[in-house]
Symmetry: C2
Subunit: 551 residues, 2 copies
């Protein structure tokens, strides 16, 4: 309901309206923590006192290279201080940062660069071969800046090589960052659905500032549940191309926390960095946490000071328990590319932190409680009014100040995303008190004989079986029932029987429908992942289809 | 510098733009702290689970009484849960809350009600005599609602008596709070300058939401300096009519912290409430802190868990030391009616907390470090570019997302407030690192023989002299020197000589100019205060003028 007739008064002509611009995030840390620093691996890059000057210099250098407001700059890089600088400098010029998903296929990357109409690219040498071989297909790109003046060089006229620090040094640190409309687009990136071309979401300065403000407040101001605050040591383990590394680099900069960028993810290096910098806060998809826990080095390490927020895929109770047994303080975060991303986070009271491990795991693997300024509920099909009542279930819908307001140049997809004034997540969820549990992706729900079986629920149960290291459940076509579940799991020894025993026990106890017991339970070497580390159920279904699997 | 040409994209027609409205502040506490509660004195009023329904009911009741968007409602009340409810309900209807300064004279109160064109008044019975005697002068007021159905009643047709809880009960808790433009005015109130009529500042929904977000983050997310977070127990000791009690009731509600409202300030009751509720966080002007410390009851009390932010007037080192010797964790906040109000707060590092008391006092009495999203500097006269360099001094100017954009119906005063795109505070300050020290009000600077003497600096020095309980320094006209300082102090025994000795010592040590030594040092019974508890220097100058004081 929107009403008119409220009192609006004319501002004094000299009054400053203060647009919410990303440059403002840079202002606090030099006051509160001037000597705290940002590291690339083991090396110190700069202190917070120096960061605003570096960003100003970089802005000046980019301007001199011809970057103008509304230009798109594509970036292909690992998690680095360079990326952090560009998180600020590109939007501060009124330009748009296109964070390219480097895990896409070459043809998809080219497609996204052309669709975004990137004018410049900033490319880590690791991605140069890919870009070099595609240069003639990159229609809009005028120039590709390659970090690192070393190594063999192609002399294609679009390629320019430079040392990153020289780029900084060549600009004036006195450059004044301009003001402009806070609704200007700051970032843009592509999300790959299960069908069709990638779709681009985009976020404005206002949205990113508000996400930063609300998120920092959500994770710092509630005593029972302080996940990240100024004296933490932060290292992202979510790629910076993936929804701004969940927006946490902006939060860390606002807080003036020590930041450590790990470059390309190598489990051994990551563990070294956690140890040498005494990293206390990270976030990642379950697969990365699994990779770290599986690494022999981690066995001897004390990870008791490490807080980790898991998101991107369902956090299985098995993995959560393994992490907590290592002393890791593990949380879930829920959101998606379309939501900037954070919608909800695990919220544990002091009392809940005293519960036995298994009960804590149950709380910690849920999507969590909506953070401040997130309005979130579930809608049953056919209903347009979301419910927040405990026990309600349906598709999760949201309203917050930081949701993509459309897909870039894709009106049709935008119409599916936004219905009845709510962003539709495509996730099926259930409210338990104020806490959201995601039960499945709408498209991953297995429809069997009129019953709905949650693939995520089955995965959660199976992940708790001893020996199971990873698990994926998908629905495959079935002549009689419509669909039936197929289980893939990873384990050192076969666990077929113990999985079925565990599920049968749940059926006897009445917590699982008997229709959910799968006929096919397969031990596999590998579970396919998408470019951002999620279980690639589309690929699993495809493999099963090609193999002619029918239950 | 404002630039155009940035990328702005069209939103999907169904996308929800999420205006920043005050109603959103109510949403988090029921999720995070549903059972935490709000108290009026010793009595529990409601839990956070219940608060949104109470506000919705109140909105419905107010609508039924005819309140419409843009209507002004004037409130005359002590700090109470009723006031908190109205902080939300009136703006949530798109109406404007006029928080009437009940300490103004009757004629000034009438003037402000007429100037604001209040349509309704909500009045505590304590203020009924004043309103009753002025009813015929209140031109715009249609109806005066008086809390409390008891007592003698006048039968003036404009007066309506009711029990507050009945007002809540008569509305539907299912009332949906509407959306509207975030730039709609939410609150309005008057500030009394030293000359002329009171001037009204006003704040929009957007401004109050952003002030709440940034302030909660500033006081909760920086580990060295956590002043207020969710498990604190909050009791305001700044009147709610005075700049929204510094905006902290909104912060407390967002955090889901326990709130205790003290009603009319009675030192004995305040001390009882601090003890019985174990209050951990308050804010007040120096005079209230002084009043509490002077109360015999406080001598026996342990105040070691109490954090207090002092603002509104300069926090003297003497008072700060006395408070800290009682175990109170004392801070300064800086701001004014025009700034919503918070601009800066004491920021102490862990190391600084270990300093000897006197050195800590020096840090704690300064205006402090600008909070996030506050851009603040000092300008020398004739210069329009503010400086933030350490050592710079001049008039303090600011830009933040929460500054009044004008004075209501007073363009001329608005032009003095906003110059060169900066809000001019009228305070003279000096930067020391990132920390702001207020050296004086521009109008209170004493201009003596071409030298500027800071009255606030003199007060700080004199406050440290043993026995001095309170002090005020003003400039009086002097034929030879232009102006000369006069000192008024409160003490149980005369301290004239020790004051002059202390200042002479400072002159010898080179920290004070010899011109600053006052000729007149008077012990007085009382120092006049303004309606909001500040030292009333205008009144002191007037008394001295009437007495014919000339140095």
């Amino acid at each position: 309901m929107w009403i008119e007739g409220t009192l609006k008064l004319e501002s004094n002509p000299e009054a400053y309206a203060y647009p919410l611009l990303i440059k403002r995030i840079l202002e606090s840390a030099p006051r509160y923590a001037p000597d705290q620093a940002i590291y690339m691996g083991k090396d110190k890059v700069c202190s917070y006192k120096e960061l605003p000057s570096r960003v100003a210099s970089l802005c000046d250098s980019l301007s001199k290279k011809g970057l103008k407001p509304s230009d798109r700059i594509g970036v292909m890089d690992w998690d680095s201080h360079r990326y952090l600088d560009l998180f600020f400098a590109v939007p501060c010029l009124g330009s748009v940062l296109h964070t390219i998903n480097v895990r896409l296929s070459a043809s998809q990357i080219v497609w996204t660069i052309n669709h975004a109409q990137d004018r410049f690219l900033f490319v880590h040498p690791d991605f140069l071969p890919l870009i070099e071989s595609s240069l003639d297909s990159l229609e809009s790109v005028e120039r590709v800046f390659v970090y690192g003046a070393q190594g063999e060089r192609s002399n294609h006229p679009k390629l320019a090589y430079f040392e990153y620090e020289e780029l900084i040094d060549s600009g004036s640190e006195k450059t004044v960052l301009a003001d402009f409309d806070e609704d200007s687009v700051a970032t843009l990136f592509y999300t790959t659905g299960t069908t069709g071309d990638p779709k681009a979401v985009y976020f404005t300065h206002r949205q990113l500032v508000l996400h930063t403000m609300a998120l920092s407040q959500a994770i710092g101001c509630y005593d029972d549940n302080r996940i990240f605050s100024s004296n933490d040591v932060y290292m992202p383990l979510t790629p910076m191309f993936h929804v701004h590394a969940w927006g946490i680099p902006y939060v860390a900069t606002l807080l003036g926390a020590k930041q450590v960028y790990p470059g390309r993810y190598e489990p051994s290096l990551i563990l070294d960095l956690i140890e040498s910098h005494q990293v206390t806060f990270s976030h990642c998809v379950p697969a990365i946490l699994q990779m770290i826990l599986n690494h022999p080095k981690s066995e001897k390490m004390d990870l008791g000071h490490w807080k980790v927020v898991i998101g991107g895929s369902a956090f299985s109770p098995g993995l959560a328990k393994a992490a907590m047994q290592k002393g890791i303080d593990a949380y879930s975060g829920y959101g998606m590319s379309e939501t900037c991303p954070v919608l909800s986070l695990t919220h544990l009271s002091f009392e809940e932190r005293e519960l036995p491990l298994d009960e804590q795991v149950d709380i910690r693997v849920r999507a969590g409680v909506p953070i401040p300024f997130v309005d979130l509920g579930v809608v049953s099909s056919g209903d347009s009014n979301p419910s927040t009542e405990s026990g309600a279930s349906g598709e999760v819908v949201a309203r917050t100040p930081w949701l993509t307001q459309n897909y870039y140049l894709n009106e049709e997809a935008g119409n599916r995303l936004w219905t009845d004034g709510w962003l539709h997540t495509g996730d099926v969820g259930e409210m338990d008190g104020s806490c959201l549990k995601i039960t499945d992706r709408i498209k991953d729900v297995i429809k069997s004989g009129g019953e709905w079986i949650s693939s995520v629920d089955l995965e959660r149960r199976i992940s708790r079986v001893d020996g199971v290291k990873d698990v994926a459940v998908v629905g495959v076509e079935d002549v009689k029932w419509g669909e039936r579940p197929v289980v893939w799991y990873i384990s050192e020894t076969p666990n077929h029987d113990s999985i079925l025993d565990a599920l049968s026990k749940d059926v006897k106890e009445g917590t699982l429908s008997k229709w959910a017991i799968p006929e096919i339970v397969e031990r596999v070497e590998e579970i396919p992942r998408t470019s951002v580390g999620k279980t690639d159920k589309k690929r699993i279904r495809q493999i099963l289809l090609e193999r002619g699997s029918q239950v």
